[in-house]
Amino acid sequence: MSGFLLSMQGAVSQGVLWGIMVLGVYITYKILNIADLTVDGSFALGGCVCATLIVNGGWNPVAALVISLAAGLLAGAVTGFLHTVFEIPAILAGILTQISLWSINLRIMGGKSNIPLLKADTIFSWIVDTTGLSQSMVSLIIGIVVAVALIAFLYWFFGTELGAALRATGDNEDMIRALGVNIKKTKMLALMISNGLVALSGGLVCQSQKYGDINNGTGAIVIGLAAIVIGDVLLGRLRSFGSKLTSAVVGSVVYFLIRAIVLQMGMDANDMKLLSAIIVALALCVPVAVDKWKLRRSYMEGGN
């Protein structure tokens, strides 16, 4: 039983750390209205940068996270550049960056696909050493502190003039251009912030799992979308922007809990991606199906 509880606790703390990535996905998918596939690459990028700096460079783990964040901003800028300047569709621009990041990540890690952080200091090991708390408890605490700080930051940012212009860019490009906003800049900024958060999350997950791996981000976008969908289903009734952001992180926690439970029930870990894709596909299909069903029904009623 305690093994089960432990794995649940681990799932919650992982969910919160990945929740920071979900915040990034929320910005592009929900606010800017584009599905940005850079995410898979930038999540791995954050981890690879972090692992390399800490293990090979002997960097301070906090400084390494800052560089991870910066690397993510840069990755977002590349997608933004392809999308806004050369008008490549956002999905394709994201795929191009994602694919190139795979090679770049491998180079960053000096040709190794995995770098373990076993003996290196991380922010998690610091706090475990000073407080004596368990690893997953510390992950949870750090995750919550960072997530709350980022939600507060995003809440503030999207309330500013610039943030409002960014939200309007996702809502109605014609309108916001007519109001004097350069939508190339706002889209670029959104993609940068989004991928910055994703890479930061990648760096944090790398430090908590004690390894960086070029395959760490595979399927991250689907996890992000699934978490957003789950958060929406659970807390969609809450209207304020702050609660929307919170529900993205909560969605991530629930996603990892579901994952831990089905794994406990004996599901193959490799099937988890299929399950995530089904969750997202269902979430996208259900509203359409319901609409169609309503249309059919209203026709029959009208005919009587």
Binding site: T160, E161, A164, R167, D174
Partner: protein, 264 residues
């Protein structure tokens, strides 16, 4: 105020879909002019307004706005001069944002948007007063999402947004065409009020010839990318719908019977 010289625009140049939409437009507006624009479908009315606003680049000619040559500047840079209301009520407002947020976005048209808070308390008070003047009860729904409003309400809101930061030129492209007759009349009334109250320079495309004659101090008729009739002052006051139909008939070789203009 506004000066167009030899403005030309061809869409899809060099393809089978090539379409000469503007064929050398010359036009000059003085401060405070209110011009109504009529013409058949595809005459180039929307294109002319879009060229002034910079939605697409022009092929040739010059556009001078308030003494500044804007011929080649992008849409977002010209926005500081222009208030715009589109035909489609969905186009002028952000549906997922609050009424007051839409107003705050419009209030900052042409200004640098930084990290100050997106809407201040003093602004809210002002928006309340302005919304009250529309007489649609929107002042009590300032935190409602614009998506909940009707087409007419959205169009009235867009009109208010266009005038919140006084524009050098107001561009109205059939902005009442998608509304039911009663709502259209109300929005048109608001348009007149706003234009006269702020003494705006304005261009209004319409398919209603009575409105085109009644409103404004100048009327232009377009056909196949040209201005074929440009009339102001007393001559315009004396115009009748029949005169316009005749003018139009001459230009199009009598084939106007099935045109939407007839319906007006």
């Amino acid at each position: 105020m506004l000066k167009l010289t030899g403005v030309q625009k061809t869409f899809n140049k060099g393809t089978i879909n090539e379409k000469k939409a503007l064929n050398g437009i010359d036009l000059q507006l003085k401060e405070g002019d209110f011009v109504t624009i009529i013409g058949g479908n595809g005459a180039g009315k929307s294109t002319m307004l879009n060229m002034i606003a910079g939605v697409y680049p022009i092929d040739a000619g010059k556009i001078i706005l308030d003494g500044e040559d804007v011929s080649r500047s992008p849409e977002h840079k010209r926005a500081k001069f222009l208030g715009r209301v589109f035909q489609d009520p969905m186009k002028g407002t952000a549906a997922t944002m609050e009424i007051q947020e839409n107003l705050a976005l419009a209030y900052r048209r042409g200004q640098k948007r930084g990290l100050r808070w997106g809407i201040t308390k003093a602004e809210r008070q002002r928006y309340y007063e302005e919304l009250k003047m529309l007489g649609l009860g929107l002042e009590d729904r300032m935190t409602s999402k614009v998506g909940l409003l009707s087409g007419g309400q959205r169009q009235a809101l867009t009109l208010l947004m266009a005038s919140l930061q006084k524009p050098k030129l107001l561009l109205l492209d059939e902005h009442t065409a998608a509304l039911d007759p009663k709502t259209a009349a109300k929005v048109l009334e608001l348009t007149e009020e706003i234009i006269s109250e702020h003494r705006l320079t304005a261009m209004m495309v319409t398919h209603n010839m009575k409105d085109a004659i009644r409103l404004g101090n100048r009327l232009i008729m377009m056909h196949e990318g040209r201005i074929i009739y440009n009339v102001g002052g007393e001559e315009k006051q004396k115009l009748k719908v029949e005169d316009l139909l005749e003018k139009f008939g001459q230009a199009s070789g009598g084939e106007f019977a099935n045109d939407r203009m007839m319906l007006a």
